[in-house]
Amino acid sequence: MAGTRRPSEQTIAVVLALAENPATWRYGYELCRQLGLKAGSMYTILMRLSDRGLVETAWETDAPPGRPARHLYRLTGPGAAMATEMAAARAKAGPAVARLRARWEGV
């Protein structure tokens, strides 16, 4: 089921990036550059997160004349809670993943 599917690594990265400063509105292109994600993937992820109520959107209110207002994103309450869970899961899985990688590399 789509609703219970585990989020992809890219989705987790976006959520965690937004969680760095939960109160701050972020731009799509800015997130792309920060995470090295392609714009197509970024917008697909943002649309999906917004559909599920994990990200809220707004339009820039102080856009200079002649430039269109940009779309802004930040985590909602449930989004922030999910980010906390993701961060915890990642922290827990981190040492295990490091151990596996070390074994694989024969160190």
């Binding site: 789509a2 292109y29 714009a39 779309h71």
Partner: protein, 358 residues
């Protein structure tokens, strides 16, 4: 408007008109090559120009209309912005906010390659969004079941009369040939597709749809009437009368019905509704008229007649004068009718504005 925009506009217009002219130039060059004598070739050229004129004029009108909407905006953009604008144009209504977001964000991307990269990526996201990130709502088959039934039955009529000709006139299939048969099948399949899965732009006006379908019935009814009015005797006078009746159908009735139907609906609603009227009218009219034409020819040349071999020619004629002639000759007049109504509406608006100001 800048000079650059005007030049782009002119270039777009000339390209589209050139493409339409090319569609006429290919069969025209074939027909001109087939004859001899400069006079004959000049006459052929004039005839083809006469046939092409309504299509060229209607294309000019459509390009102008399009230009006042998205076209003008596109002309001021660079390549990446144009690509993204085209990609996001088809995004569903509940995704329009994201379309605007992507376009706004592109204005912040600097550098040619970065802009192209961003535009290509977001265009991909726009296409995914069109298919639906969420489970897509199933598109209804035949949003107007009654209209779909009429068109499908009309197509069935075309198939039935063609099949009858193939069975009862043994040389017809061989003489008709696979190329014409393929074209006939493609046109009929296209009509079925339009009836069962019409684009949204063809379904917004109920009035346009039904007046168009009614116009189609009127046209095929008129063709049937001409059959009853055909003079019995042969000879020059009889042939001339028959030709006159046929021309009254192919030129006057078709042009009049297409033009007036679209003019009326566009006047009541909008230019787009007028176009819908013209499309439904042309589609229904050509299908019904094809069947009527075939029945007329079969009555004229029964299977046991001394000249049953002419049926292949009759089938070709029926196909050309209905399935091709209707959209190529009739439809442009529908577009012109819708456009003329738009001009009238604009005048009315102007008049209303003057009255209001006074």
């Amino acid at each position: 408007m800048g000079r650059g925009v005007t030049q782009v506009k002119l270039r777009v217009k000339l390209t589209v008109l050139g493409a339409v002219l090319l569609c006429f130039a290919v069969p025209a060059s074939l027909s001109i090559d087939g004859g001899d004598g400069i006079g004959w070739q000049r006459d052929q050229l004039m005839m083809w120009l006469f046939f092409a004129a309504p299509s060229l004029l209607a294309t000019w009108v459509l390009v102008n209309r399009w230009w006042t909407g998205p076209g003008e905006r596109l002309s001021t953009m660079d390549g990446p912005a144009r690509l993204l604008a085209i990609a996001v144009a088809a995004m569903p209504d509940d995704r329009k906010e994201w379309a605007v977001a992507m376009e706004a964000e592109l204005t912040q991307v600097q550098g040619r390659s970065a802009r192209w990269g961003f535009a290509l990526d977001t265009a991909r996201a726009a296409v995914i969004a069109q298919r639906g990130l969420r489970r897509p709502a199933p598109r209804r088959i035949a949003p107007s079941p009654a209209a779909a039934v009429i068109v499908v039955l009309a197509v069935a009529g075309c198939i039935a009369t063609t099949a009858y000709a193939f069975v009862h006139y043994p040389t017809t299939a061989e003489r008709f040939g696979p190329v014409k048969a393929t074209i006939l099948a493609a046109i009929l399949a296209g009509c079925v597709w339009l009836a069962l899965r019409p684009p949204r732009s063809l379904m917004t006006s109920r009035r346009g749809r039904w007046i168009g379908i009614a116009s189609g019935f009127v046209l095929s009814g008129y063709l049937l009437l001409t059959d009853f009015m055909m003079p019995e005797g042969t000879g020059d006078a009889g042939e001339l009368a028959a030709l006159g009746l046929l021309m009254s159908f192919l030129v006057i009735a078709l042009v009049g019905v297409q033009f007036l139907g679209a003019l009326y609906v566009a006047g009541m609603e909008s230019f787009r509704s007028g176009i819908q009227t013209a499309v439904w009218s042309a589609m229904t009219g050509m299908l019904l008229s094809f069947s009527v034409w075939m029945v007329m020819m079969m009555r004229k040349h029964p299977p046991d007649s001394p000249v049953p071999n002419v049926m292949a020619g009759d089938l070709s004629e029926a196909g050309f004068w209905t399935l091709i002639w209707f959209p190529v000759w009739g439809l442009p007049f529908g577009i012109l009718g819708a456009a003329l109504s738009g001009v009238k509406t604009q005048r009315q608006i102007k008049q209303e504005t003057i009255t209001w100001t006074a």
